[in-house]
């Protein structure tokens, strides 16, 4: 018995490893192959630009339906509009060390890539080290303010401000006075979304009931890419009496939309205008989305590098700068638009300060 158990365990564990490896390979092969119009500065056609851009993703890379994808969209736009000579995109491995991230950035810098963009706060310390070693290379980091140097631009977002607006929208649209929040992974970044959403909903209806749940706990980051879990969590909320659910769960959001559709409820999208990007069948349940314009930030940064106007330090994409916003696709929030814009004005003018941490 014992040896059978061991044999089977070992065999299935190995088969699993192999399959996972193969699946991962098949899945990302296409996106990681980057089109490079000219290989290197010397072969670049006149007017084709000589800029070689390096982009280091966080776990998930291109195709994660979340902020990695948004960064990729910004890069793609820059490729066509600014005519970049070459763009190299590198992915992070799951559970890797800081040393691996540092090495990734260093290889890009050594390879002549300039500017280099790191996606995600996990690159904070590695970026600070590598930026000090390559003072002539321009760096940018998304979602991190801690790495500071003369050649680092910090692309920051006021997710709590945008979330406040969709929180207000949820409360205004909720007939049962009961809304929900589904977070991908319990990390401080997602806490910002929750804090803003709560504050917004309570600003409209102080006695509103708010359900809140997270799909996974760090270091388990599957919550950002598990539609089945998202569906189960949202179903629970609709069953408990909520009628609007906001998700900040990346790829898991698809499940939240399905649950909303099945329960005849409403959902709120995140990061991009999901009434345009989600699966066709569920777009009508997405009443609005909290847009976080990582793509705009990446594009702006690349543009500022190419015209020489790049500035180091924090660049905050808040409500005032249009870096976060709510979407109106589908016309479902048209009737409350004036109210939402009123809140927007109050936040922009400083009359309302949105908390960025849940209490």
């Amino acid at each position: 018995m014992l040896h059978n158990r061991f044999g089977r365990l070992a065999a299935s564990a190995l088969a699993g490893t192999m399959l996972m490896g193969a699946a991962a390979c098949g899945g990302s092969e296409e996106p990681t192959t980057t089109a490079s119009p000219g290989t290197g500065a010397t072969s670049a056609a006149p007017g084709g630009g000589t800029t070689k851009v390096g982009l280091a993703y966080d776990i998930g890379g291109r195709g994660d339906q979340s902020f990695n994808d948004a960064a990729a969209a910004g890069l793609d736009k820059a490729k066509t509009e600014l005519g970049l000579a070459e763009a190299k995109e590198l992915e992070a491995g799951s559970g890797e060390t800081e040393a691996a991230k540092e090495e990734r950035l260093r290889l890009l810098a050594q390879g002549g890539f300039n500017p280099i963009i790191a996606v995600g706060f996990a690159y904070s310390k590695p970026l600070a080290k590598v930026a000090a070693e390559f003072p002539d290379v321009k760096f940018a980091i998304v979602d991190d303010a801690e790495a500071k140097a003369a050649n680092i631009t910090n692309l920051l977002f006021a997710e709590h401000e945008g979330s406040f607006l969709v929180g207000a929208a949820a409360a205004l649209k909720s007939e049962k006075n009961h809304v929900g929040f589904v977070g991908g992974v319990r990390v401080p970044l997602i806490d910002k979304f929750e804090a803003g959403f709560e504050a917004g909903a309570k600003a409209v209806k102080p006695d509103i009931k708010i359900e809140s749940t997270y799909l996974s706990e760090p270091p388990e980051f599957s919550g950002f890419n598990d539609p089945a879990k998202g569906k189960t969590a949202a179903e629970g909320m609709f069953d408990a009496g909520a009628d609007v659910v906001y998700h900040a769960a990346g790829g898991s959001g698809g499940g939240v939309f399905e649950a909303a559709k099945a329960a005849n409820g409403k959902a709120i999208g995140v990061d991009s205008d999901q009434a345009k990007t989600a699966a066709e069948g569920v777009r009508d349940v997405i009443m609005t989305s909290m847009i976080k314009k990582v793509d705009v930030a990446v594009f702006d940064f690349l543009k500022s590098v190419s015209d020489g106007s790049v500035a180091s330090g924090p660049k905050v994409y808040d409500l005032k700068a249009g870096g976060v916003d709510y979407s109106t696709t589908g016309g479902q929030v048209d009737d409350i638009k004036t109210k939402l814009d009123e809140y927007k004005q109050k936040i922009v003018s400083g009359e309302i300060t949105v908390p960025d941490k849940t209490s």
């Binding site: 070992a10 991190d144 801690e146 970044l189």
Partner: protein
């Protein structure tokens, strides 16, 4: 030990030795097989196998890469030893992953909270880590000894519980401080850090000071298993529980001690990274090392030197995945290579073992046919 009497598990976990040239044949066969499979995968994905290997070796032999490799290998080695201690006793400690994460988190919190003179501070952190790892493993051990719960099931569940517990502890209201979008324990002051050593010529890159700890653990593992009464009992129990009981070994006590030792060793896994690089346990602390440890323990056949080679090979492959991405080769190739190598080693050793068994049987029947009395070990065939 006669390989004809052995089970697949015994052969899988390296309890049966191969004799003479055959002990060389197995690894050679494994390398050839792994090379062939990887080449096919590379060809299918449209990358030339030889050039890919060339790129990896080129990058992997640079002084800086060697430093990176040694550092990851240090961590991998400790992980594999933690797993191997369990394997030797027929315990499948899948909980190494949860044990080291929880240990690193609590040790980091303790290390960041106190200020002590240098060596004492480091010793305290390492002691706490071992204690937490052992404590967490002892839950599974007690469940097995008292209630007969399979350690495979309980450790998998304890991994999930460790994740949730860790997440609960890593909170502003408890053990953590928030820095930007990251959250982690209070940084360990300088007195608790272990400086790196620039021992590789041609680079300033520093190797973890705690690489010495890995060497000490490796030697300790060898001595304990092969030079002590406890090690003998442990190996005997792993081989045959009934025989061990008959010769007076308290099996329950052995299970308890082996699991606790495995957990204590697991507690060490995060230490090189924590005391040599991160100085804090935060959201980006490396994960999944317990599972890597299982693969490397199998690869190294639970032998302290074999595991060292396995850890270095694994680290080499991991380090070179970065350069593959630069050359537009999917980094997942590395995972396929790692999986293939473990599989090849297991298959190759099994094949060679079976060859040895058949050869032995033939020898015996030949001797029987020619009228020479067979040697005693042939009797049981």
């Amino acid at each position: 030990m006669n390989s004809a009497e052995s089970t697949f598990t015994d052969r899988l976990l390296g309890r049966v030795r191969l004799s003479g040239l055959l002990s060389l044949a197995a690894p050679v066969l494994a390398v050839v097989f792994a090379g062939a499979v990887t080449s096919i995968v590379l060809l299918v994905s449209g990358d030339p196998p030889l050039e890919t290997l060339g790129v990896m070796i080129d990058y992997g032999t640079q002084p800086r890469s060697i430093g990176l490799m040694l550092n990851s290998a240090t961590t991998f080695y400790l992980a594999a030893i933690a797993v191997a201690i369990g394997f030797r006793m027929n315990l499948f400690n899948i909980g190494v992953d949860g044990q080291y994460r929880l240990a690193a988190l609590i040790a980091a919190a303790v290390g960041g909270a106190v200020v002590l003179p240098g060596p004492l501070h480091v010793a305290l952190i390492i002691f706490v880590a071992m204690l937490v790892g052992a404590g967490w493993a002892s839950i599974a051990a007690l469940l097995k000894v008292k209630r007969g719960v399979s350690e495979v099931i309980s450790t998998i569940m304890l991994n999930a519980i460790a994740t949730s517990l860790g997440s609960w502890l890593l909170n502003r209201e408890r053990l953590a401080v928030q820095v930007g979008n990251n959250i982690g324990t209070k940084p360990i002051p300088e007195s608790g850090q272990v400086p790196g050593m620039a021992i590789i010529p041609g680079t300033e890159y520093k190797v973890f000071g705690l690489i010495i700890l890995a060497v000490v653990v490796g030697v300790g593992y060898h001595v304990l298993l092969n030079r002590t009464r406890f090690g003998f009992d442990l190996r005997a129990t792993g081989r045959s529980e009934s025989a061990a009981v008959a010769s007076g070994v308290n099996v329950k006590k052995m299970v308890l001690i082996a699991m606790i030792m495995s957990g204590a060793a697991a507690g060490l896994i995060g230490m090189p990274q924590l005391l040599g690089a991160s100085y804090t346990y935060s959201l980006d602390f490396p994960t999944g090392l317990g599972f890597t440890g299982i693969a490397i323990a199998l690869l190294g056949r639970n032998h302290p030197v074999g595991i060292a080679f396995g850890a270095l090979l694994w680290a080499f492959l991991g380090t070179s995945s970065e350069i593959l991405q630069i050359h537009e080769i999917a980094p997942e190739i590395v995972q396929i290579m790692q999986g293939t190598i473990v599989l090849s080693v297991i298959i190759a050793y099994e094949l060679v073992h079976r060859y040895q068994i058949t050869a032995e049987q033939r020898r015996v029947s030949r001797e029987l046919a020619s009228g020479t009395p067979p040697r005693a070990e042939g009797a049981s065939v």
